[in-house]
């Protein structure tokens, strides 16, 4: 890779602020597809190697005795402006790796929970997780072919969602559709933020 030598004058401009949104949901529901549809580049993949034992890590001789797991995360980048960069992270498999979720959710603006009406229950763990954490989220029903069409209020009821949680239809492959979902999430998160601020009494 060739980056111009004169491209980066040291300490010239302050670094931008980075923010993130999570794309969650069950296996194969379209998380990576949505990340790719709206990001600047095709989704990137990063891995965390988790070690079961926390001690003796500095000792190379102990390496082969440790049990390790690799958790992969897909993500993409959207440069909003010179001082704001948005990252979208597809969350790794539900039910395990909750501490990776904790790391991802920390400081996130909010989350999109993708749902497939053919197997709606697959997104329960995601919803439980974000409800429990108080992370703003919306549910986006990904419209796969052959899926029976549900009314959105049926989905809302089936998922037992708080009435304030937006439920929208989407096509995770379409950039415009993915953008709309993200905007719905941000507007919802702003409202929540305002409501919480008022509830806190200032």
């Amino acid at each position: 890779m060739d980056y111009g030598r004169s491209e980066r004058p040291a300490g010239a401009a302050p670094l931008p602020t980075a923010i993130k949104i999570l794309i969650a949901g069950g296996f194969g529901v379209g998380k990576t597809t949505m990340v790719g549809a709206v990001s600047e580049t095709r989704p990137l993949r990063t891995e965390e190697v988790l070690t079961e034992t926390g001690i003796g890590i500095d000792d190379l001789s102990g390496v082969e005795e440790k049990s390790t797991t690799t958790v992969a995360m897909d993500f993409g980048r959207i440069t909003i402006s010179d001082d704001l960069v948005l990252y979208l992270f597809g969350t790794p498999g539900q039910d395990r790796f909750w501490f990776v979720w904790d790391e991802l959710a920390l400081g996130a603006l909010g989350a999109v929970v993708l749902a497939d009406t053919r197997r709606l229950a697959d997104c329960f763990p995601s919803i439980d997780y974000f409800e429990g954490r108080g992370t703003p989220f919306v549910v986006a029903v990904n419209c796969f072919e052959g899926a029976r069409t549900f009314r959105l209020d049926e989905v809302q009821a089936a998922l037992d969602l708080d009435p304030g949680v937006p439920v929208v239809l989407c096509d995770a492959r379409q950039r415009e559709s993915a953008k709309e979902v993200l905007i719905t999430l941000l507007e919802h998160a702003m409202k929540l933020r305002e409501a919480r601020r008022r509830a806190a009494g200032d």
Partner: protein, 129 residues
């Protein structure tokens, strides 16, 4: 302990080294950075155009400085170098300790959510895409 750039590092990167061993070899077996925490979306930029071999750094350190001629997140560095995030954190710690990179941690949000103007900027930015 094996240090990055040591000749013995080769032993750990040969065909017998599995995907687990290699990251340890790159960091000389260290699991934690000497300095810094490095969130996945911490943004990193190099403070120099290149680093010479005089610094005792390994090829992965040099590669990071090369990559970070443009601002990159920790996650992007890990993805481009095909190394686990934990490994990249250790390497970044080495570079930060030598002031070879500048790091911007994401805004801490104790109250949970950032300022309204951040939301507005993102919404407008997405609409303009």
């Amino acid at each position: 302990m094996t240090r990055p750039g040591d000749p013995t590092e080769q032993e750990w990167v040969d065909d017998h080294a599995g995907p687990v061993v290699r990251p340890y070899a790159v960091t000389g077996g260290r699991a934690r950075p000497v300095t810094g925490t490095f969130d996945l979306i911490s943004l990193v930029t190099a403070t120099r155009n290149e680093v010479g071999s005089e610094s005792g750094l390994g090829p992965e350190h040099v590669a990071i400085v090369g990559l970070c001629q443009r601002i990159q997140s920790v996650a992007e560095i890990a993805a481009h170098l095909d190394l686990p995030v934990g490994t990249v954190r250790v390497l970044l710690g080495d570079l930060a300790a030598r002031s070879l990179v500048q790091v911007r941690e994401p805004r801490a949000t104790p109250a949970g959510l950032p300022d309204e103007h951040v939301f507005e900027a993102v919404i407008n930015g997405l609409r303009a895409l």
